[in-house]
């Protein structure tokens, strides 16, 4: 039996949890979804059934703290008799997973991007420059998935939600949350299906209005290159690349970014890549599916107009 951790965010199941359910379902064993957090309407969790869970378990625990969540998840795994635990590799998933692995004495494989073949799990290595096939002989496994690696399909129907609780529900958290500050962007970069990214070619932070407008029209998150983040034109949260965030959206539009190897490492798994650059020799064109050689300040307004027309249609 495979256990899947469902992350609750703003009173809902995070999309990455559905991906994890689909993945776990395809591993072939029964799937039990375990949601930990705070949700006003627990019937919302029944939806997990649609994505592959045969049972859904809810453990109420208001404040996130990785040790508390890891304790609860491992206790649930032991009680339910699960040998495989699947966790989506969001920031909080990544904080819980290694602790769960130690508590369960399980092997841990992180950053998995595909279903296993010949008992080997495919994961990204060298920050997007390559993939590795990882094996383990351990009887228990914790697997973390790179978000946006799988299409989400509905494969079942809603199931009833069971409540579960453990003594350590009330244990004192080791860290204390003081304040949470939302980032400016409306769509979190790691979950975005479309990303509009810009580089030094934009000449200054004051010119980002048109990037944001285009992103809004396309329902996209905004991102940037390393120099842009280093010069503090944009927050480091937007920096994609080898020393920033690795993303794999359906569409990545790179504007005024030349395409240094370190940047490409972070975005090369995107399904469709568009490069817009005034330098026809920019390395980005070698990995792009669509390209425009031209000045960003002339190209973007045309894209904005075309996107407005499309949205009206």
């Amino acid at each position: 039996m495979t256990l899947v951790y469902l992350e609750i965010s703003d009173g809902k199941i995070k999309k990455s949890g559905f991906e994890a359910l689909n993945f776990a379902h395809k591993l072939g064993e029964d799937v039990i979804a375990v949601a930990i957090g705070s949700i006003a309407d627990t019937t919302l969790l029944a939806e997990a059934g649609k994505y592959g869970a045969s049972r859904v378990v809810y453990i109420a625990q208001p404040e996130f703290e990785n040790n508390t969540y890891a304790s609860l998840l491992s206790a649930a795994a032991s009680q339910l008799g699960s040998n495989t635990v699947v966790i989506s590799g969001t920031y909080s998933g990544k904080a819980i997973a290694p602790r769960v692995a130690v508590k369960l004495q399980a092997a841990i494989i992180s950053g998995v991007v595909d279903l296993p073949a010949d008992n080997a799990f495919k994961k990204g290595v060298f920050s997007g420059k390559a993939f590795a096939f990882v094996q383990t002989n351990a009887s228990k496994k914790v697997i973390t998935l790179t978000p946006n690696s799988f299409n989400i399909e509905e494969i079942g129907t809603e199931v009833s939600v069971e409540n579960m609780s453990f003594d350590n529900n009330s244990q004192t958290p080791l860290t204390k949350s003081i304040e949470k500050i939302k980032a400016g962007g409306k769509i979190p970069l790691t979950e975005a299906e479309v990303v509009v990214s810009a580089g030094r070619g934009m000449k200054g932070p004051e010119n980002w209005g048109m990037i944001e407008e285009l992103a809004d029209l396309l329902g996209a998150a905004t991102a940037c290159s390393k120099p842009v983040s280093d010069m503090h034109w944009r927050s480091h949260n937007e920096h994609v690349g080898q020393t920033g965030i690795t993303i794999k959206p359906n569409l990545y539009i790179a504007i005024g970014i030349s395409g240094a190897i370190q940047h490409l490492a972070g975005v090369s798994s995107s399904k469709v890549i568009v490069a817009i650059n005034k330098d026809p020799e920019a390395p980005f064109f070698k990995v792009a599916d669509y390209g425009i050689v031209g000045d960003a300040f002339e190209v973007i307004p045309q894209l904005i107009n075309a996107a407005k027309t499309l949205n009206k249609a």
């Binding site: 995070k14 040790n67 890891a70 920031y91 909080s92 990544k94 904080a95 819980i96 997973a97 290694p98 602790r99 692995a101 130690v102 092997a107 841990i108 494989i109 992180s110 950053g111 290595v125 060298f126 920050s127 390559a130 993939f131 590795a132 096939f133 990882v134 094996q135 383990t136 351990a138 080791l174 860290t175 204390k176 003081i178 304040e179 949470k180 500050i181 980032a183 979190p188 979950e191 396309l218 480091h236 080898q242 359906n250 569409l251 370190q262 469709v272 064109f285 070698k286 599916d289 669509y290 390209g291 425009i292 002339e298 045309q302 894209l303 107009n305 075309a306 996107a307 027309t309 499309l310």
Partner: protein, 244 residues
């Protein structure tokens, strides 16, 4: 304040990645090895904290003798002492087990790692260490200040950031913005030669193996759109690529 900083030695970010032995081994020919960038930020902040509060910084790595140039660099920028666990690192579990067994012999107030290594991208060592040592942990930390054995931290969370407090001792993983790395000066490089570097024999085993590698598939070729007709791109993305 006693701080332990865990260092990983990785290929330089500009390295072109290739494999040998029927794609089962990373081709290290011509590779320049560097301190993992996130670990370097962790090391720098550790030095700043001990300069502010007094204390010591111990740098530890799990690696063979060829990692010593990077360890010496850690000493040259200001680490007090260094420890090398004499084993080729294979997986995060093995590395964390080695570091945990060393850390349990000394009372560190803080243990720093980088957010992840830029080669195998596990991002696991901080969490594994914390659990093995039964300590609190905070990952992807962008800021830390310490006052009277309480750390105030900022970390990235999905869709924003969080401010937290935690009593020492604690384990954290450093995210970009944690600190600006330092360049060693001649005095530091000279001093590093006489600073203690202990070598410990390994005891832990790995639990996973990297059986084979693969490079991403090459792209079909780029379709160019004239800049005077840039709007056509949107139509292609909608009708042909079907991504918007």
């Amino acid at each position: 304040m006693k701080i332990l900083v865990c260092l990983s030695v990785v290929p330089d970010t500009t390295t072109k990645i290739t494999f040998t032995d029927n794609d089962t081994k990373f081709n290290t020919t011509g590779v320049t090895w560097i301190m993992n960038p996130y670990d370097e930020m962790a090391l720098t902040r550790a030095l700043e904290l001990t300069e502010q509060h007094t204390g010591s910084v111990t740098a530890i790595t799990v690696g063979l003798a060829d990692t010593e140039a990077v360890i010496r660099k850690a000493l040259a920028v200001g680490a007090t002492e260094a420890v090398r666990v004499n084993a080729a690192p294979i997986d995060a579990f093995q590395v964390a087990s080695e570091i945990a067994s060393y850390a349990s012999t000394a009372n560190f107030d803080l243990i720093f790692t980088g957010r992840e290594s830029i080669d195998y991208n596990g991002g696991l060592v901080a969490g594994l260490l914390a659990e093995m040592l039964n300590l609190p942990s905070v990952n992807v930390v962008t800021k830390i200040d310490v006052n009277d054995s309480v750390a105030k931290l900022e970390r990235d969370i999905d869709g924003g950031r969080e401010v937290l407090e935690c009593s020492l001792p604690l384990v954290l993983s450093a995210q970009k913005e944690f600190a600006e790395p330092r360049i060693p000066n001649m005095r530091g490089i000279m001093a590093a030669r006489t600073k203690p570097l202990s070598i410990i024999e390994p005891a832990a085993a790995n639990t996973i193996t990297f059986a084979k590698f693969e490079l991403p598939k090459a792209k079909q070729g780029v379709k160019m759109i004239n800049a005077d007709n840039a709007g056509a791109l949107i139509e292609l993305l909608h009708n042909e690529a079907k991504v918007i």
